[in-house]
Amino acid sequence: MTCRQVVQLLTDYLEGALPAAERALVEEHLAGCDACTAFLAQLRTAGRVVAELAEVDVPADLRADLLRAFRDWRPAASE
């Protein structure tokens, strides 16, 4: 397997979606290839940065409106 082929498979690899035989070939390649290992690490890091985008504060007025809507929706329970 060449580096050019391996980079095509790395999302499937990270997602655990490769058939066992192909997974073994990718792992064998990675074990002997610093460049593909570095590329895989970059993909992982990129994923971590993307996940960080989840951290956004709800604007205060929207949050207050929605909490009020929740209380109106189920008034009995909040008493």
Binding site: Q42, T45, V49, A51, L53, R63, L67
Partner: protein, 222 residues
């Protein structure tokens, strides 16, 4: 879990009629019991990905916030009828997608709409620049090692801003997948079901989207 995903491909709507509840989800029970703290936790936890998905369709902060608000109101309106065929989280994101898409359709006269893969648009070209490989298909130079970068740099406001912008540049087909999977953290099977695509196709799109983000980061961090 697998029973929750027995939706036909192309299914875009959440609860199917006539089926008894398949799961008892403590989060769901808390909401139904009127637990405001549980609701606040969902609002806070899902706002980032909900807002980004809405922005991707509507391209306007106020319109996106309105879509998020409508989503939560629809969640409340539907909560007692929600049957747990998907997770609560997946159901909520499905509602947002429907709200944002129908609002975009209403405004589509005003917005450019590109949904086809094109080589010249973000995420449309090769996963890695072909010049990075030699004739034998080996790397000609080592990709940069980011392990030495401090977290404060990697997760700085400017890097996050650049990565957010890169995701916003992606065509909708790629953007929806990376936001649902990597920002919202939904499992692949749920993302595929929500978008009405196969899991294979879901991973192809995810791979393109991640590769684009990686490339943008590589240029930015160099």
């Amino acid at each position: 879990m697998s029973i929750a995903y027995r939706w036909g491909s192309g299914a875009r709507h959440y609860p199917l009629p006539g089926v008894a509840s398949l799961t008892t989800d403590p989060e769901l029970e808390a909401l139904r019991a009127g637990d405001e703290a549980a609701f606040a936790e969902l609002l806070d936890g899902y706002h980032g990905p909900l807002f980004r998905l809405a922005m991707g369709h509507l391209r306007d902060r106020d319109a996106a916030e309105d879509a998020v608000q409508e989503t939560w109101l629809q969640v409340l309106a539907g909560l007692d009828r929600f049957e747990g065929r998907s997770s609560l989280k997946t159901w909520i994101f499905g509602i947002l997608l429907n709200v944002a898409r129908s609002r975009r359709r209403r405004e589509s006269r005003l917005l450019p709409f590109t949904s086809l893969f094109r080589r010249d648009e973000p995420g449309g070209g090769p996963i890695v620049d072909p010049d990075r490989f030699n004739k034998e298909g080996r790397w000609t130079s080592l990709p940069d090692n980011w392990a030495g970068l401090p977290e404060s740099r990697l997760l700085s406001r400017e890097v996050l801003g650049r990565v957010g912008a890169a995701i916003d540049e992606l065509p909708p087909k790629l953007r929806e997948v990376i936001v649902l999977h990597d920002v919202a953290g939904l499992p692949s099977a749920d993302v595929a079901a929500l978008l009405g695509i196969s899991e294979v196709n879901q991973r192809v799109r995810l791979h393109r989207a991640r590769a684009y983000v990686r490339r943008v980061l590589e240029e930015y961090l160099r």
